[in-house]
């Protein structure tokens, strides 16, 4: 199993990614040049802005929700379950964590863990809901998990406006989390202070890497994702695993949400959180890019965070819009994913290749 991972790693860290980066930045450079800018200046601003000094701190900070949501997505997606409800799991987890941090009495060492745990539990419960629908009622999880995002948005908006809202505030928001109940920060690499959620996230990445490769649960869910019928045939309880992976996936989403408020902004601001929910989708892209593998998710997540932070720096220093960073992100994904499908094809042996060619051709030609 280790060997198989090692043999796949070059596909990931080796030339396909390099090619993808060259192609994406090359294309981005052409666009900048066409609009009369200087690509080299723009890119150097982007890289220094995203990966040095204060920018690095910002990048690592921003990587927490991106890597977190990518992990959340990958936990389910590895098992073949498309959890599109990351947004909702995150929002409800965030609000739960926030309210626990605000209302619970006691010292921070007790309040913060309870708040974080509460956020995770509610996120997990929200993830379990569509999973129960799928395993018990055969309602497709893909759809319900997505639609539940809107429910979560509406519920959190309502709660923040009325029962939990701070009276007299200019915009819908909770009160501030008291200083004692905030997730602590620490100095990182001499470039500023960052939430200890970052270390927590690293821990989850490592735990996931071990669990995926070395536990029965990791093996069984992985096989579920590669072939559901095969897993069922081998005695894997696919329904139970679907519930557990969705709970874990939603739970991580809830953790990320709680971090965003209790570790960053200290106030649950409705409009702000709905904007931050976009991290669920960036995370999804990162998970796709890293083929659900935890360490590559970490690398890709930090890289994407750096592109975004660097994009803002680039916009400040040059005339190039920060949205170019998003264009490059999208190009990287397209390049890597298309490269992957080409590589896959080469893997197949003669017989397989023929079958595929035949199937493809028959749709065009035959019949």
């Amino acid at each position: 199993m280790a060997d198989s991972l090692r043999s796949r790693l070059p596909t990931l860290l080796g030339h396909p990614v390099t090619i993808a980066l060259v192609v994406s930045f090359g294309f981005g450079g052409v666009v900048i040049a066409l609009t009369g800018g200087d690509p080299l200046t723009a890119f150097s601003e982007m890289l220094t802005g995203g990966f040095s000094g204060n920018g690095l701190r910002n990048t690592l900070g921003r990587s927490i929700p991106i890597v977190g949501m990518a992990l959340a997505f990958s936990i389910a997606f590895r098992a073949g379950i498309l959890n599109l409800g990351g947004e909702g799991q995150m929002l409800l987890g965030a609000l739960t964590g926030t309210m626990l941090a605000i209302t619970l009495p006691g010292p921070g060492v007790v309040v913060v863990p309870v708040a974080v745990l509460g956020g995770a539990v509610v996120g997990a419960a929200w993830g379990l809901l569509p999973a129960l629908g799928q395993t018990r009622l055969r309602v497709p999880l893909l759809i319900t998990s997505l639609l539940l995002n809107y429910v979560a948005r509406a519920v959190t908006s309502y709660l923040v406006r009325y029962p939990f809202g701070e009276p007299g505030a200019a915009f819908a928001s909770t009160a501030a989390v008291p200083e004692t109940a905030r997730i602590p920060r620490f100095e990182i690499l001499g470039s500023g202070r960052i939430s200890i959620s970052f270390l927590f996230m690293l821990g989850i990445v490592v735990a996931a890497a071990i669990a995926y490769r070395r536990t029965v649960f990791g093996y069984e869910t992985g096989m579920m994702g590669l072939s559901g019928p095969f897993a069922r045939f081998g005695g894997v309880d696919v329904d139970r695993h679907a519930l557990v992976t969705m709970a874990l996936s939603g739970g991580v989403g809830g953790l990320v949400g709680t971090h965003l408020v209790v570790g960053e902004t200290y106030r649950y601001i409705d409009a702000d959180m709905i904007a931050q929910a976009g991290f669920a989708w960036t995370g999804l892209m990162v998970a796709l890019l890293a083929f659900n593998r935890p360490i590559p998710i970490l690398v890709a997540g930090i890289f994407f965070a750096g592109l975004q932070i660097g994009g803002f720096a680039m916009e400040r220093a040059t005339d190039v819009s920060w949205q170019l960073a998003q264009v490059i992100q999208a190009l990287v994904i397209v390049a890597v994913v298309s490269r992957f499908s080409v590589g896959r094809k080469r893997l197949r042996n003669l017989e397989k290749e023929e079958a595929v060619a035949e199937a493809e051709a028959s749709h065009v030609g035959e019949v």
């Binding site: 199993m1 071990i210 897993a231 045939f233 017989e351 290749e353 019949v367």
Partner: protein
């Protein structure tokens, strides 16, 4: 006489493989030309080239004396080639008639004339003795009927050169004989039929000319009047093949699998299995013979725990497993070689080691503390591949890169390597080459001899007859006959399979 089809020096290389190595072939109007060879001999590649799915690296193709370039299946169809594929290429949600007429629809005022389509198709079906309801939806049909639809599709297009890629696998002997009649009728009308098969009795029955492929070369051109099956198989394999046959003696072992009055629901409220009772004893092979779609797949899936049952009792070594989960059944001593080894029996993108681990992932021997031991998992896979002669560059390669025969050995190794008392073997040799068939049969019989109970489901009557101690014939979800393989012939089994066996 000009050859209808002439291939000269066809060569095709794939990375690392020379699939076709200068193959010459001539087929004339009004002949049934059999192309025989093991898997990997180049049959499929050659036919893919002919059908425009691959371009040859070297060589020419002539049709009716004219050199042609076949660069797409559409071009092939335009040149009068028709292909009945081994894997079905049908639209599941459309009716039989709609599938058959696709791209050549009879129309009235620009709309598809469904009534006429249905009439034309049912007439066509009737004239060739292929019983098909033209209005049935394809997804509701059993495999055996799908095959007939495929054949109808090619017949509807009135191809002058018809390629049949192992078309008889899912037919009863009677249906097969009817197909042969169809083929002879088509031949007599001046068409050319390329019949790809590895079943030598079929070759002897219909061939006008035989070309044997081995290792990408045409190694022999034979005339059925002057050759023997032994000679053909020698050319196919390059050696003499031992024909395996069970002794047929009745086992007196204790019952391992007991099935009592089992009912399993099928599609549309029709029972797929309607009250089946039987047992399989230690040290015997019980063969289930049935035309595809008569409940045998549902029966096996129900026993394996993959399909819910309506009523009945299943016991394994005396323990009631009727409601047990798949993993409990496996723990109680069941192993299962499923019909669909690509989708169910393996995960194509997982490594061989991961594939071999399935079902044993909770085995303490493969652990180190709380975690799976990578070394133990790899060693386990290596041992199994050595024991079952699986040729691999390493256990980390993806299972999907293995040939059909090797992949089936992976399944076999995993399912038989742990000496479970009950083995469910479903189509264990479908689509694998003669060498692998021989190996699989030997392994099954060895398992029987060490006392395993084996339930064998196969569409190959010769396989059922060769391996079984008892034969149960299923028809429309019931067991309609129990036969002694020593005292019945194929024709009699076939009659029972179509429900007309009587008593």
């Amino acid at each position: 006489m000009t050859a209808e089809l002439e291939l000269r020096g066809i060569t095709k290389r794939f990375p690392g493989v020379l699939a076709c190595d200068g193959i010459d072939l001539e087929a004339y109007p009004g002949e049934i030309h059999c192309i025989v060879g093991e898997n990997g001999a180049g049959k499929t590649t050659l036919m893919s080239i002919l059908y425009g799915l691959h371009r040859p690296d070297e060589g020419d193709i002539r049709i009716r004396g004219e050199e042609v370039r076949i660069d797409s299946p559409l071009r092939a169809i335009g040149l009068g080639l028709g292909m009945v594929h081994q894997a079905f290429k049908l639209f599941p949600s459309l009716s039989v008639a709609e599938n058959v007429i696709f791209r050549q629809e009879p129309s009235r005022w620009g709309r598809i004339d469904r009534k006429r389509a249905s009439a034309v198709v049912s007439e066509l079906a009737a004239s060739y003795g292929l019983a098909v309801d033209p209005d049935a939806r394809v997804e509701d049909l059993p495999v055996g009927v799908l095959q007939r639809v495929e054949i109808l599709k090619a017949l509807y297009r009135d191809a002058s050169i018809l390629i049949l890629d192992e078309p008889t696998a899912v037919l009863t002997p009677q249906e097969r004989d009817r197909l042969f009649e169809v083929m002879r009728r088509l031949r007599d009308s001046g068409r050319t039929i390329l019949f790809i098969t590895h079943k030598l009795p079929e070759v002897m029955a219909v061939a006008d000319r035989i070309t044997v492929l081995r290792g990408g070369r045409a190694v022999a051109r034979l005339d059925p009047a002057t050759t023997t099956p032994e000679e053909i198989s020698r050319h196919m394999t390059g050696r003499d093949v031992v024909v395996i046959r069970a002794d047929g003696s009745r086992s007196e072992g204790r019952p391992i699998l007991e099935v009592q009055d089992l009912h399993v629901a099928g599609a549309h409220g029709v029972a797929a299995v309607a009250g089946v009772s039987f047992d399989v004893r230690a040290g015997e092979v019980v063969g289930i013979a049935a035309v595809a779609g008569n409940g045998q797949s549902e029966l096996v899936e129900a026993i394996a725990g993959l399909r819910p049952i309506e009523s009945g009792v299943i016991r394994l070594t005396g323990t009631d497993i009727t409601r047990a989960s798949v993993s409990d059944r496996r723990r109680a001593g069941m192993s299962y070689i499923p019909e669909d080894r690509h989708r169910v029996g393996t995960a194509a993108t997982a490594s061989v080691a991961e594939n071999m681990l399935m079902g044993y992932q909770r085995d303490p021997a493969l652990r180190r503390g709380r975690f799976l031991s990578t070394e133990a998992v790899d060693t386990h896979a290596k041992e199994l591949s050595d024991r079952y002669d699986i040729r691999l560059s390493g256990v980390e390669v993806a299972a999907g890169t293995l040939s059909g025969g090797n992949l089936q050995r992976v399944v076999l190794a995993r399912e038989m390597g742990h000496e479970a008392p009950l083995i469910l073997a479903e189509q264990p040799t479908r689509g694998v080459d003669i060498g692998a068939i021989e190996f699989i049969h030997t392994q099954l019989l060895a398992a029987r001899d060490r006392g395993a109970a084996i339930l064998l489901v196969s569409a190959e009557l010769s396989e059922i007859q060769a391996l079984s101690n008892r034969i149960l014939v299923m028809f429309e979800g019931r067991i309609v006959a129990e036969l002694d393989p020593a005292s019945v012939d194929e024709a009699e089994i076939g009659l029972h399979m179509t429900g007309v066996g009587g008593g």
